[in-house]
């Protein structure tokens, strides 16, 4: 008899390849990476096999069915049919990492003891020869009393057989593990390990001699007390330099395309408000953000390569030493590093941290890590106010300035965490236990998928939120109209008398101490919805014409802006540095605020944590901007 839908759940240790198998089974593009804790919530997909729809749940990795961290609780609830909104599972698929079989078998025995239909997948069998291991699959089948399918999920090898076995799992006798005396006292970990050791002895053979694996030799350098941190800093420096050097020519191509588009619009539409709205408002606003797509894509390509290579766990281990005195452990480092890309998934990634107070402290400081939305603001201000000088034929001053922004954010995040852990969120710090995944060559297909997903999210924001804000800002800058068609006034006079000008003048007292004028004040207010809006607002306000060098043009206009009357620069270098400091620290992202509310308990409790996060970051941002401005002035950067 065929069932209308077969419900399957993938269970396994962190980083054993569950999500890769999930993608291989369902054809979906769930995020995968080579470090533990990528999947922190249940994800569902489906496929059709022999006329039956098979619904597959990808669950967060767990080492046992005794949950510790919030992501492990999700798996526990599904296994015990107590998860909200999830129908009972028909077949469990336990994914084992062949290279780490002994540790992986612990969870497998726990699941098999439930006595429910189970398929065991022995994944990554391609790595066994390199590790000098052989697994006797037939013996393993006998030992576990369950179907065992060897696979290499990354190359789809054995995946069709997994589909076949899932379809048959209901018809074969279930594992009798529960009834075997060896593991009768199922909650005694010691007995379980003894049983697993016996199974390992029967099923696994290792090559004689303990030769050093290539990964051990690499680890000896990357995890070295001195070389480890130095290599980490060097890797980051190269990445940020590449962001500036490689992405700029690509951005120029995009700018040129936008310029052509505006010329076409100008030819098609008669002069008037609607033409201005489309060209100055929409193209000027959205376009000024879209030109950053190459930089954003490169940033994600770089982070993806780090994740896939297996280096991320090493980086967490290297950083653990520096994070411990601050009250955090290496596990907090992965969410913090993910914060370079986007704070939203980074805050979700804190679910792998079992200790509530460490997790909360990490959530509170993650938005201080410079996310990709800050990149447009940094790039604009740096290219306007930092000279493009090359130092020692290797690195440009602009590249260094960009690296400095990321370093400031990181240092601030660590310092803020130390303060939280010594005040509101005081508790002991647990020792770091993190798995070192095998090194792997990043898969180009996976990398490009990740990059495309992130870029499309960025473009979606540009096409929706930034589009809408640009339209509103254009209208606020255009109305009420100061002149008449017969007696037009200058752009400056129009902007001053417009609704936007009035808002700007209202907030000017707040930004004047930072050496900034009302126009920047408007852009800062507008960017509380999303940081990148700063750039589009400035482009709209300065009426930057859409041609090949729209972005360079805006940077030049900021640099050359003169205060009416005095003729002195409107924006000094000191003020620009202060403004950069403001953007390093300010929390300007409604998505981040929403996810903080959800992940800190939701409702009013979550809202309280989110308010605290927003407020302390705003105070820090304004204070730092003021201090940086004053110091830079004193050093002669006025």
């Amino acid at each position: 008899m065929t069932r209308p839908t077969l419900r399957v759940a993938l269970i396994g240790n962190p980083n054993c390849g569950k999500s890769t198998l999930f993608n291989a089974l369902t054809g979906r593009r769930q995020k995968v990476a080579n470090f533990p804790g990528v999947t922190v919530e249940r994800v569902e997909g489906s496929y059709v096999h022999e006329g039956t729809t098979v619904s597959v749940l990808d669950l967060p990795g767990t080492y046992s069915l005794s949950p510790d961290a919030p992501d492990e609780v999700i798996t526990y609830d599904v296994v015990h049919d107590r998860a909200d909104g999830v129908a009972p599972v028909d077949v469990f698929v336990v994914v084992l990492d062949a290279e780490n079989l002994e540790r992986n078998l612990y969870l497998a025995t726990e699941v098999l003891e439930l006595g429910r239909p189970t398929v065991v997948v022995l994944n990554r069998v391609d790595r066994l020869p390199l590790a000098g291991m052989k697994v006797d699959v037939v013996e393993l089948i006998h030992a576990l009393g369950a179907i065992v399918v060897p696979t290499v999920a990354t190359t789809q090898e054995g995946v069709e057989r997994v589909r076949h076995c899932i379809a048959r799992a209901l018809d074969v006798p279930q594992s009798q593990l529960r009834n075997q005396g060896a593991v009768a006292e199922e909650y005694r970990a010691e007995r379980r390990y003894e049983w697993i050791a016996a199974v390992m002895a029967r099923t696994v053979t290792r090559e004689a001699g303990t030769r050093t694996r290539p990964s051990d030799r690499v680890d000896a350098v990357l995890l070295h007390r001195v070389w480890g941190p130095l290599i980490f800093v060097a890797v980051m420096a190269i990445a940020f330099q590449a962001l500036f050097l490689v992405a700029t020519p690509l951005a120029t191509v995009l700018q040129s395309a936008l310029g052509s588009l505006s010329d076409v619009l100008r030819g098609l539409l008669p002069a008037g408000d609607f033409q201005s709205l489309l060209i100055d408002g929409v193209l000027g606003g959205v376009g000024s953000v879209v030109v950053f797509v190459p930089q954003i894509a490169l940033l994600f390509l770089f982070i993806g390569a780090l994740e896939d290579s297996g280096y991320l766990s090493r980086a967490a281990f290297v950083m653990d030493r520096f994070m411990r005195p601050l009250g955090l452990q290496g596990k907090s480092f992965i969410p913090l590093l993910s914060g370079y890309a986007c704070a939203v998934p980074a805050i979700m990634a804190t679910r792998t941290i079992p200790q509530t107070k460490e997790r909360l402290a990490t959530i509170m400081v993650v938005p201080l890590m410079s996310c990709s939305a800050r990149l447009p603001v940094y790039a604009l201000l740096i290219s306007a106010f930092v000279p493009a000088v090359t130092i020692g034929h290797v690195i440009t001053l602009q590249g260094l300035a960009l690296l400095a922004m990321y370093l400031f954010g990181t240092v601030a995040a660590l310092a803020a965490a130390a303060v939280f852990r010594r005040t509101l969120l005081r508790s002991d710090t647990r020792a770091l236990i993190i798995e070192m995944p095998a090194y792997a060559k990043p898969t180009m297909r996976v990398l490009l998928t990740t990059v495309w997903q992130r870029v499309s999210v960025f473009l979606q924001r540009a096409g929706t939120v930034i589009f809408a804000i640009s339209v509103i800002l254009w209208a606020m800058g255009r109305y009420p109209q100061a002149g008449t068609p017969s007696a037009p006034v200058s752009e400056e006079a129009q902007l001053t008398q417009s609704a936007l000008g009035q808002v700007g003048h209202a907030v000017e007292p707040l930004v004047r101490p930072l050496g900034l004028d009302w126009k920047i004040g408007v852009a800062m207010v507008a960017s509380f919805a999303a940081r990148e809006v700063f750039v589009s607002t400035m482009a709209t306000m300065y009426g930057v014409p859409q041609h090949e060098t729209v972005h360079t043009e805006l940077a030049a206009r900021l640099r050359d802006a003169r205060a009416p009357g005095t003729g002195r620069p409107t924006y000094t270098r000191a003020a620009a540095f202060g403004l950069l400091a403001f953007y390093v620290f300010a929390l300007m992202c409604t998505s981040t605020i929403a996810v903080t509310v959800r992940e800190t308990g939701g409702g009013w409790q979550g809202a309280r944590w989110a308010s605290l996060q927003f407020s302390y970051m705003l105070v820090l941002a304004w204070g730092s901007a003021f201090v940086v401005y004053r110091i830079a002035l004193a050093l002669g950067a006025g």
Binding site: S66, P67, D68, A69, P70, D71, E72, V73, I74, Y76, D77, R82, A83, D84, L269, P270, G272, D273, F274, L277, R351, T356, R359, L360, T464, V465, F467, A468, I469, V471, I472, A475, A529, T590, A594, V597, R598, T600, G601, G602, G603, W604, Q605, G606, A607
Partner: protein, 52 residues
């Protein structure tokens, strides 16, 4: 293009944008309100007890 048509197009686009922003803000607020304060989420701080 007649003046009134120019104005109408601007009004439609600006009105649409304003509605979109208001709608998004409302959705955000509603999702925050809807988040439950206790449940099997595993946080000590939200009142639920993770299974032993």
């Amino acid at each position: 293009m007649p003046h009134w048509a120019d104005r109408a197009l601007v009004l439609a686009l600006v009105g649409g944008a304003a509605w979109f922003i208001a709608h998004r803000a409302w959705q955000r607020l509603a999702s925050v309100r809807a988040t439950k304060t206790a449940g099997s989420c595993g946080h000590d701080n939200c009142g639920c007890k993770p299974p032993a």
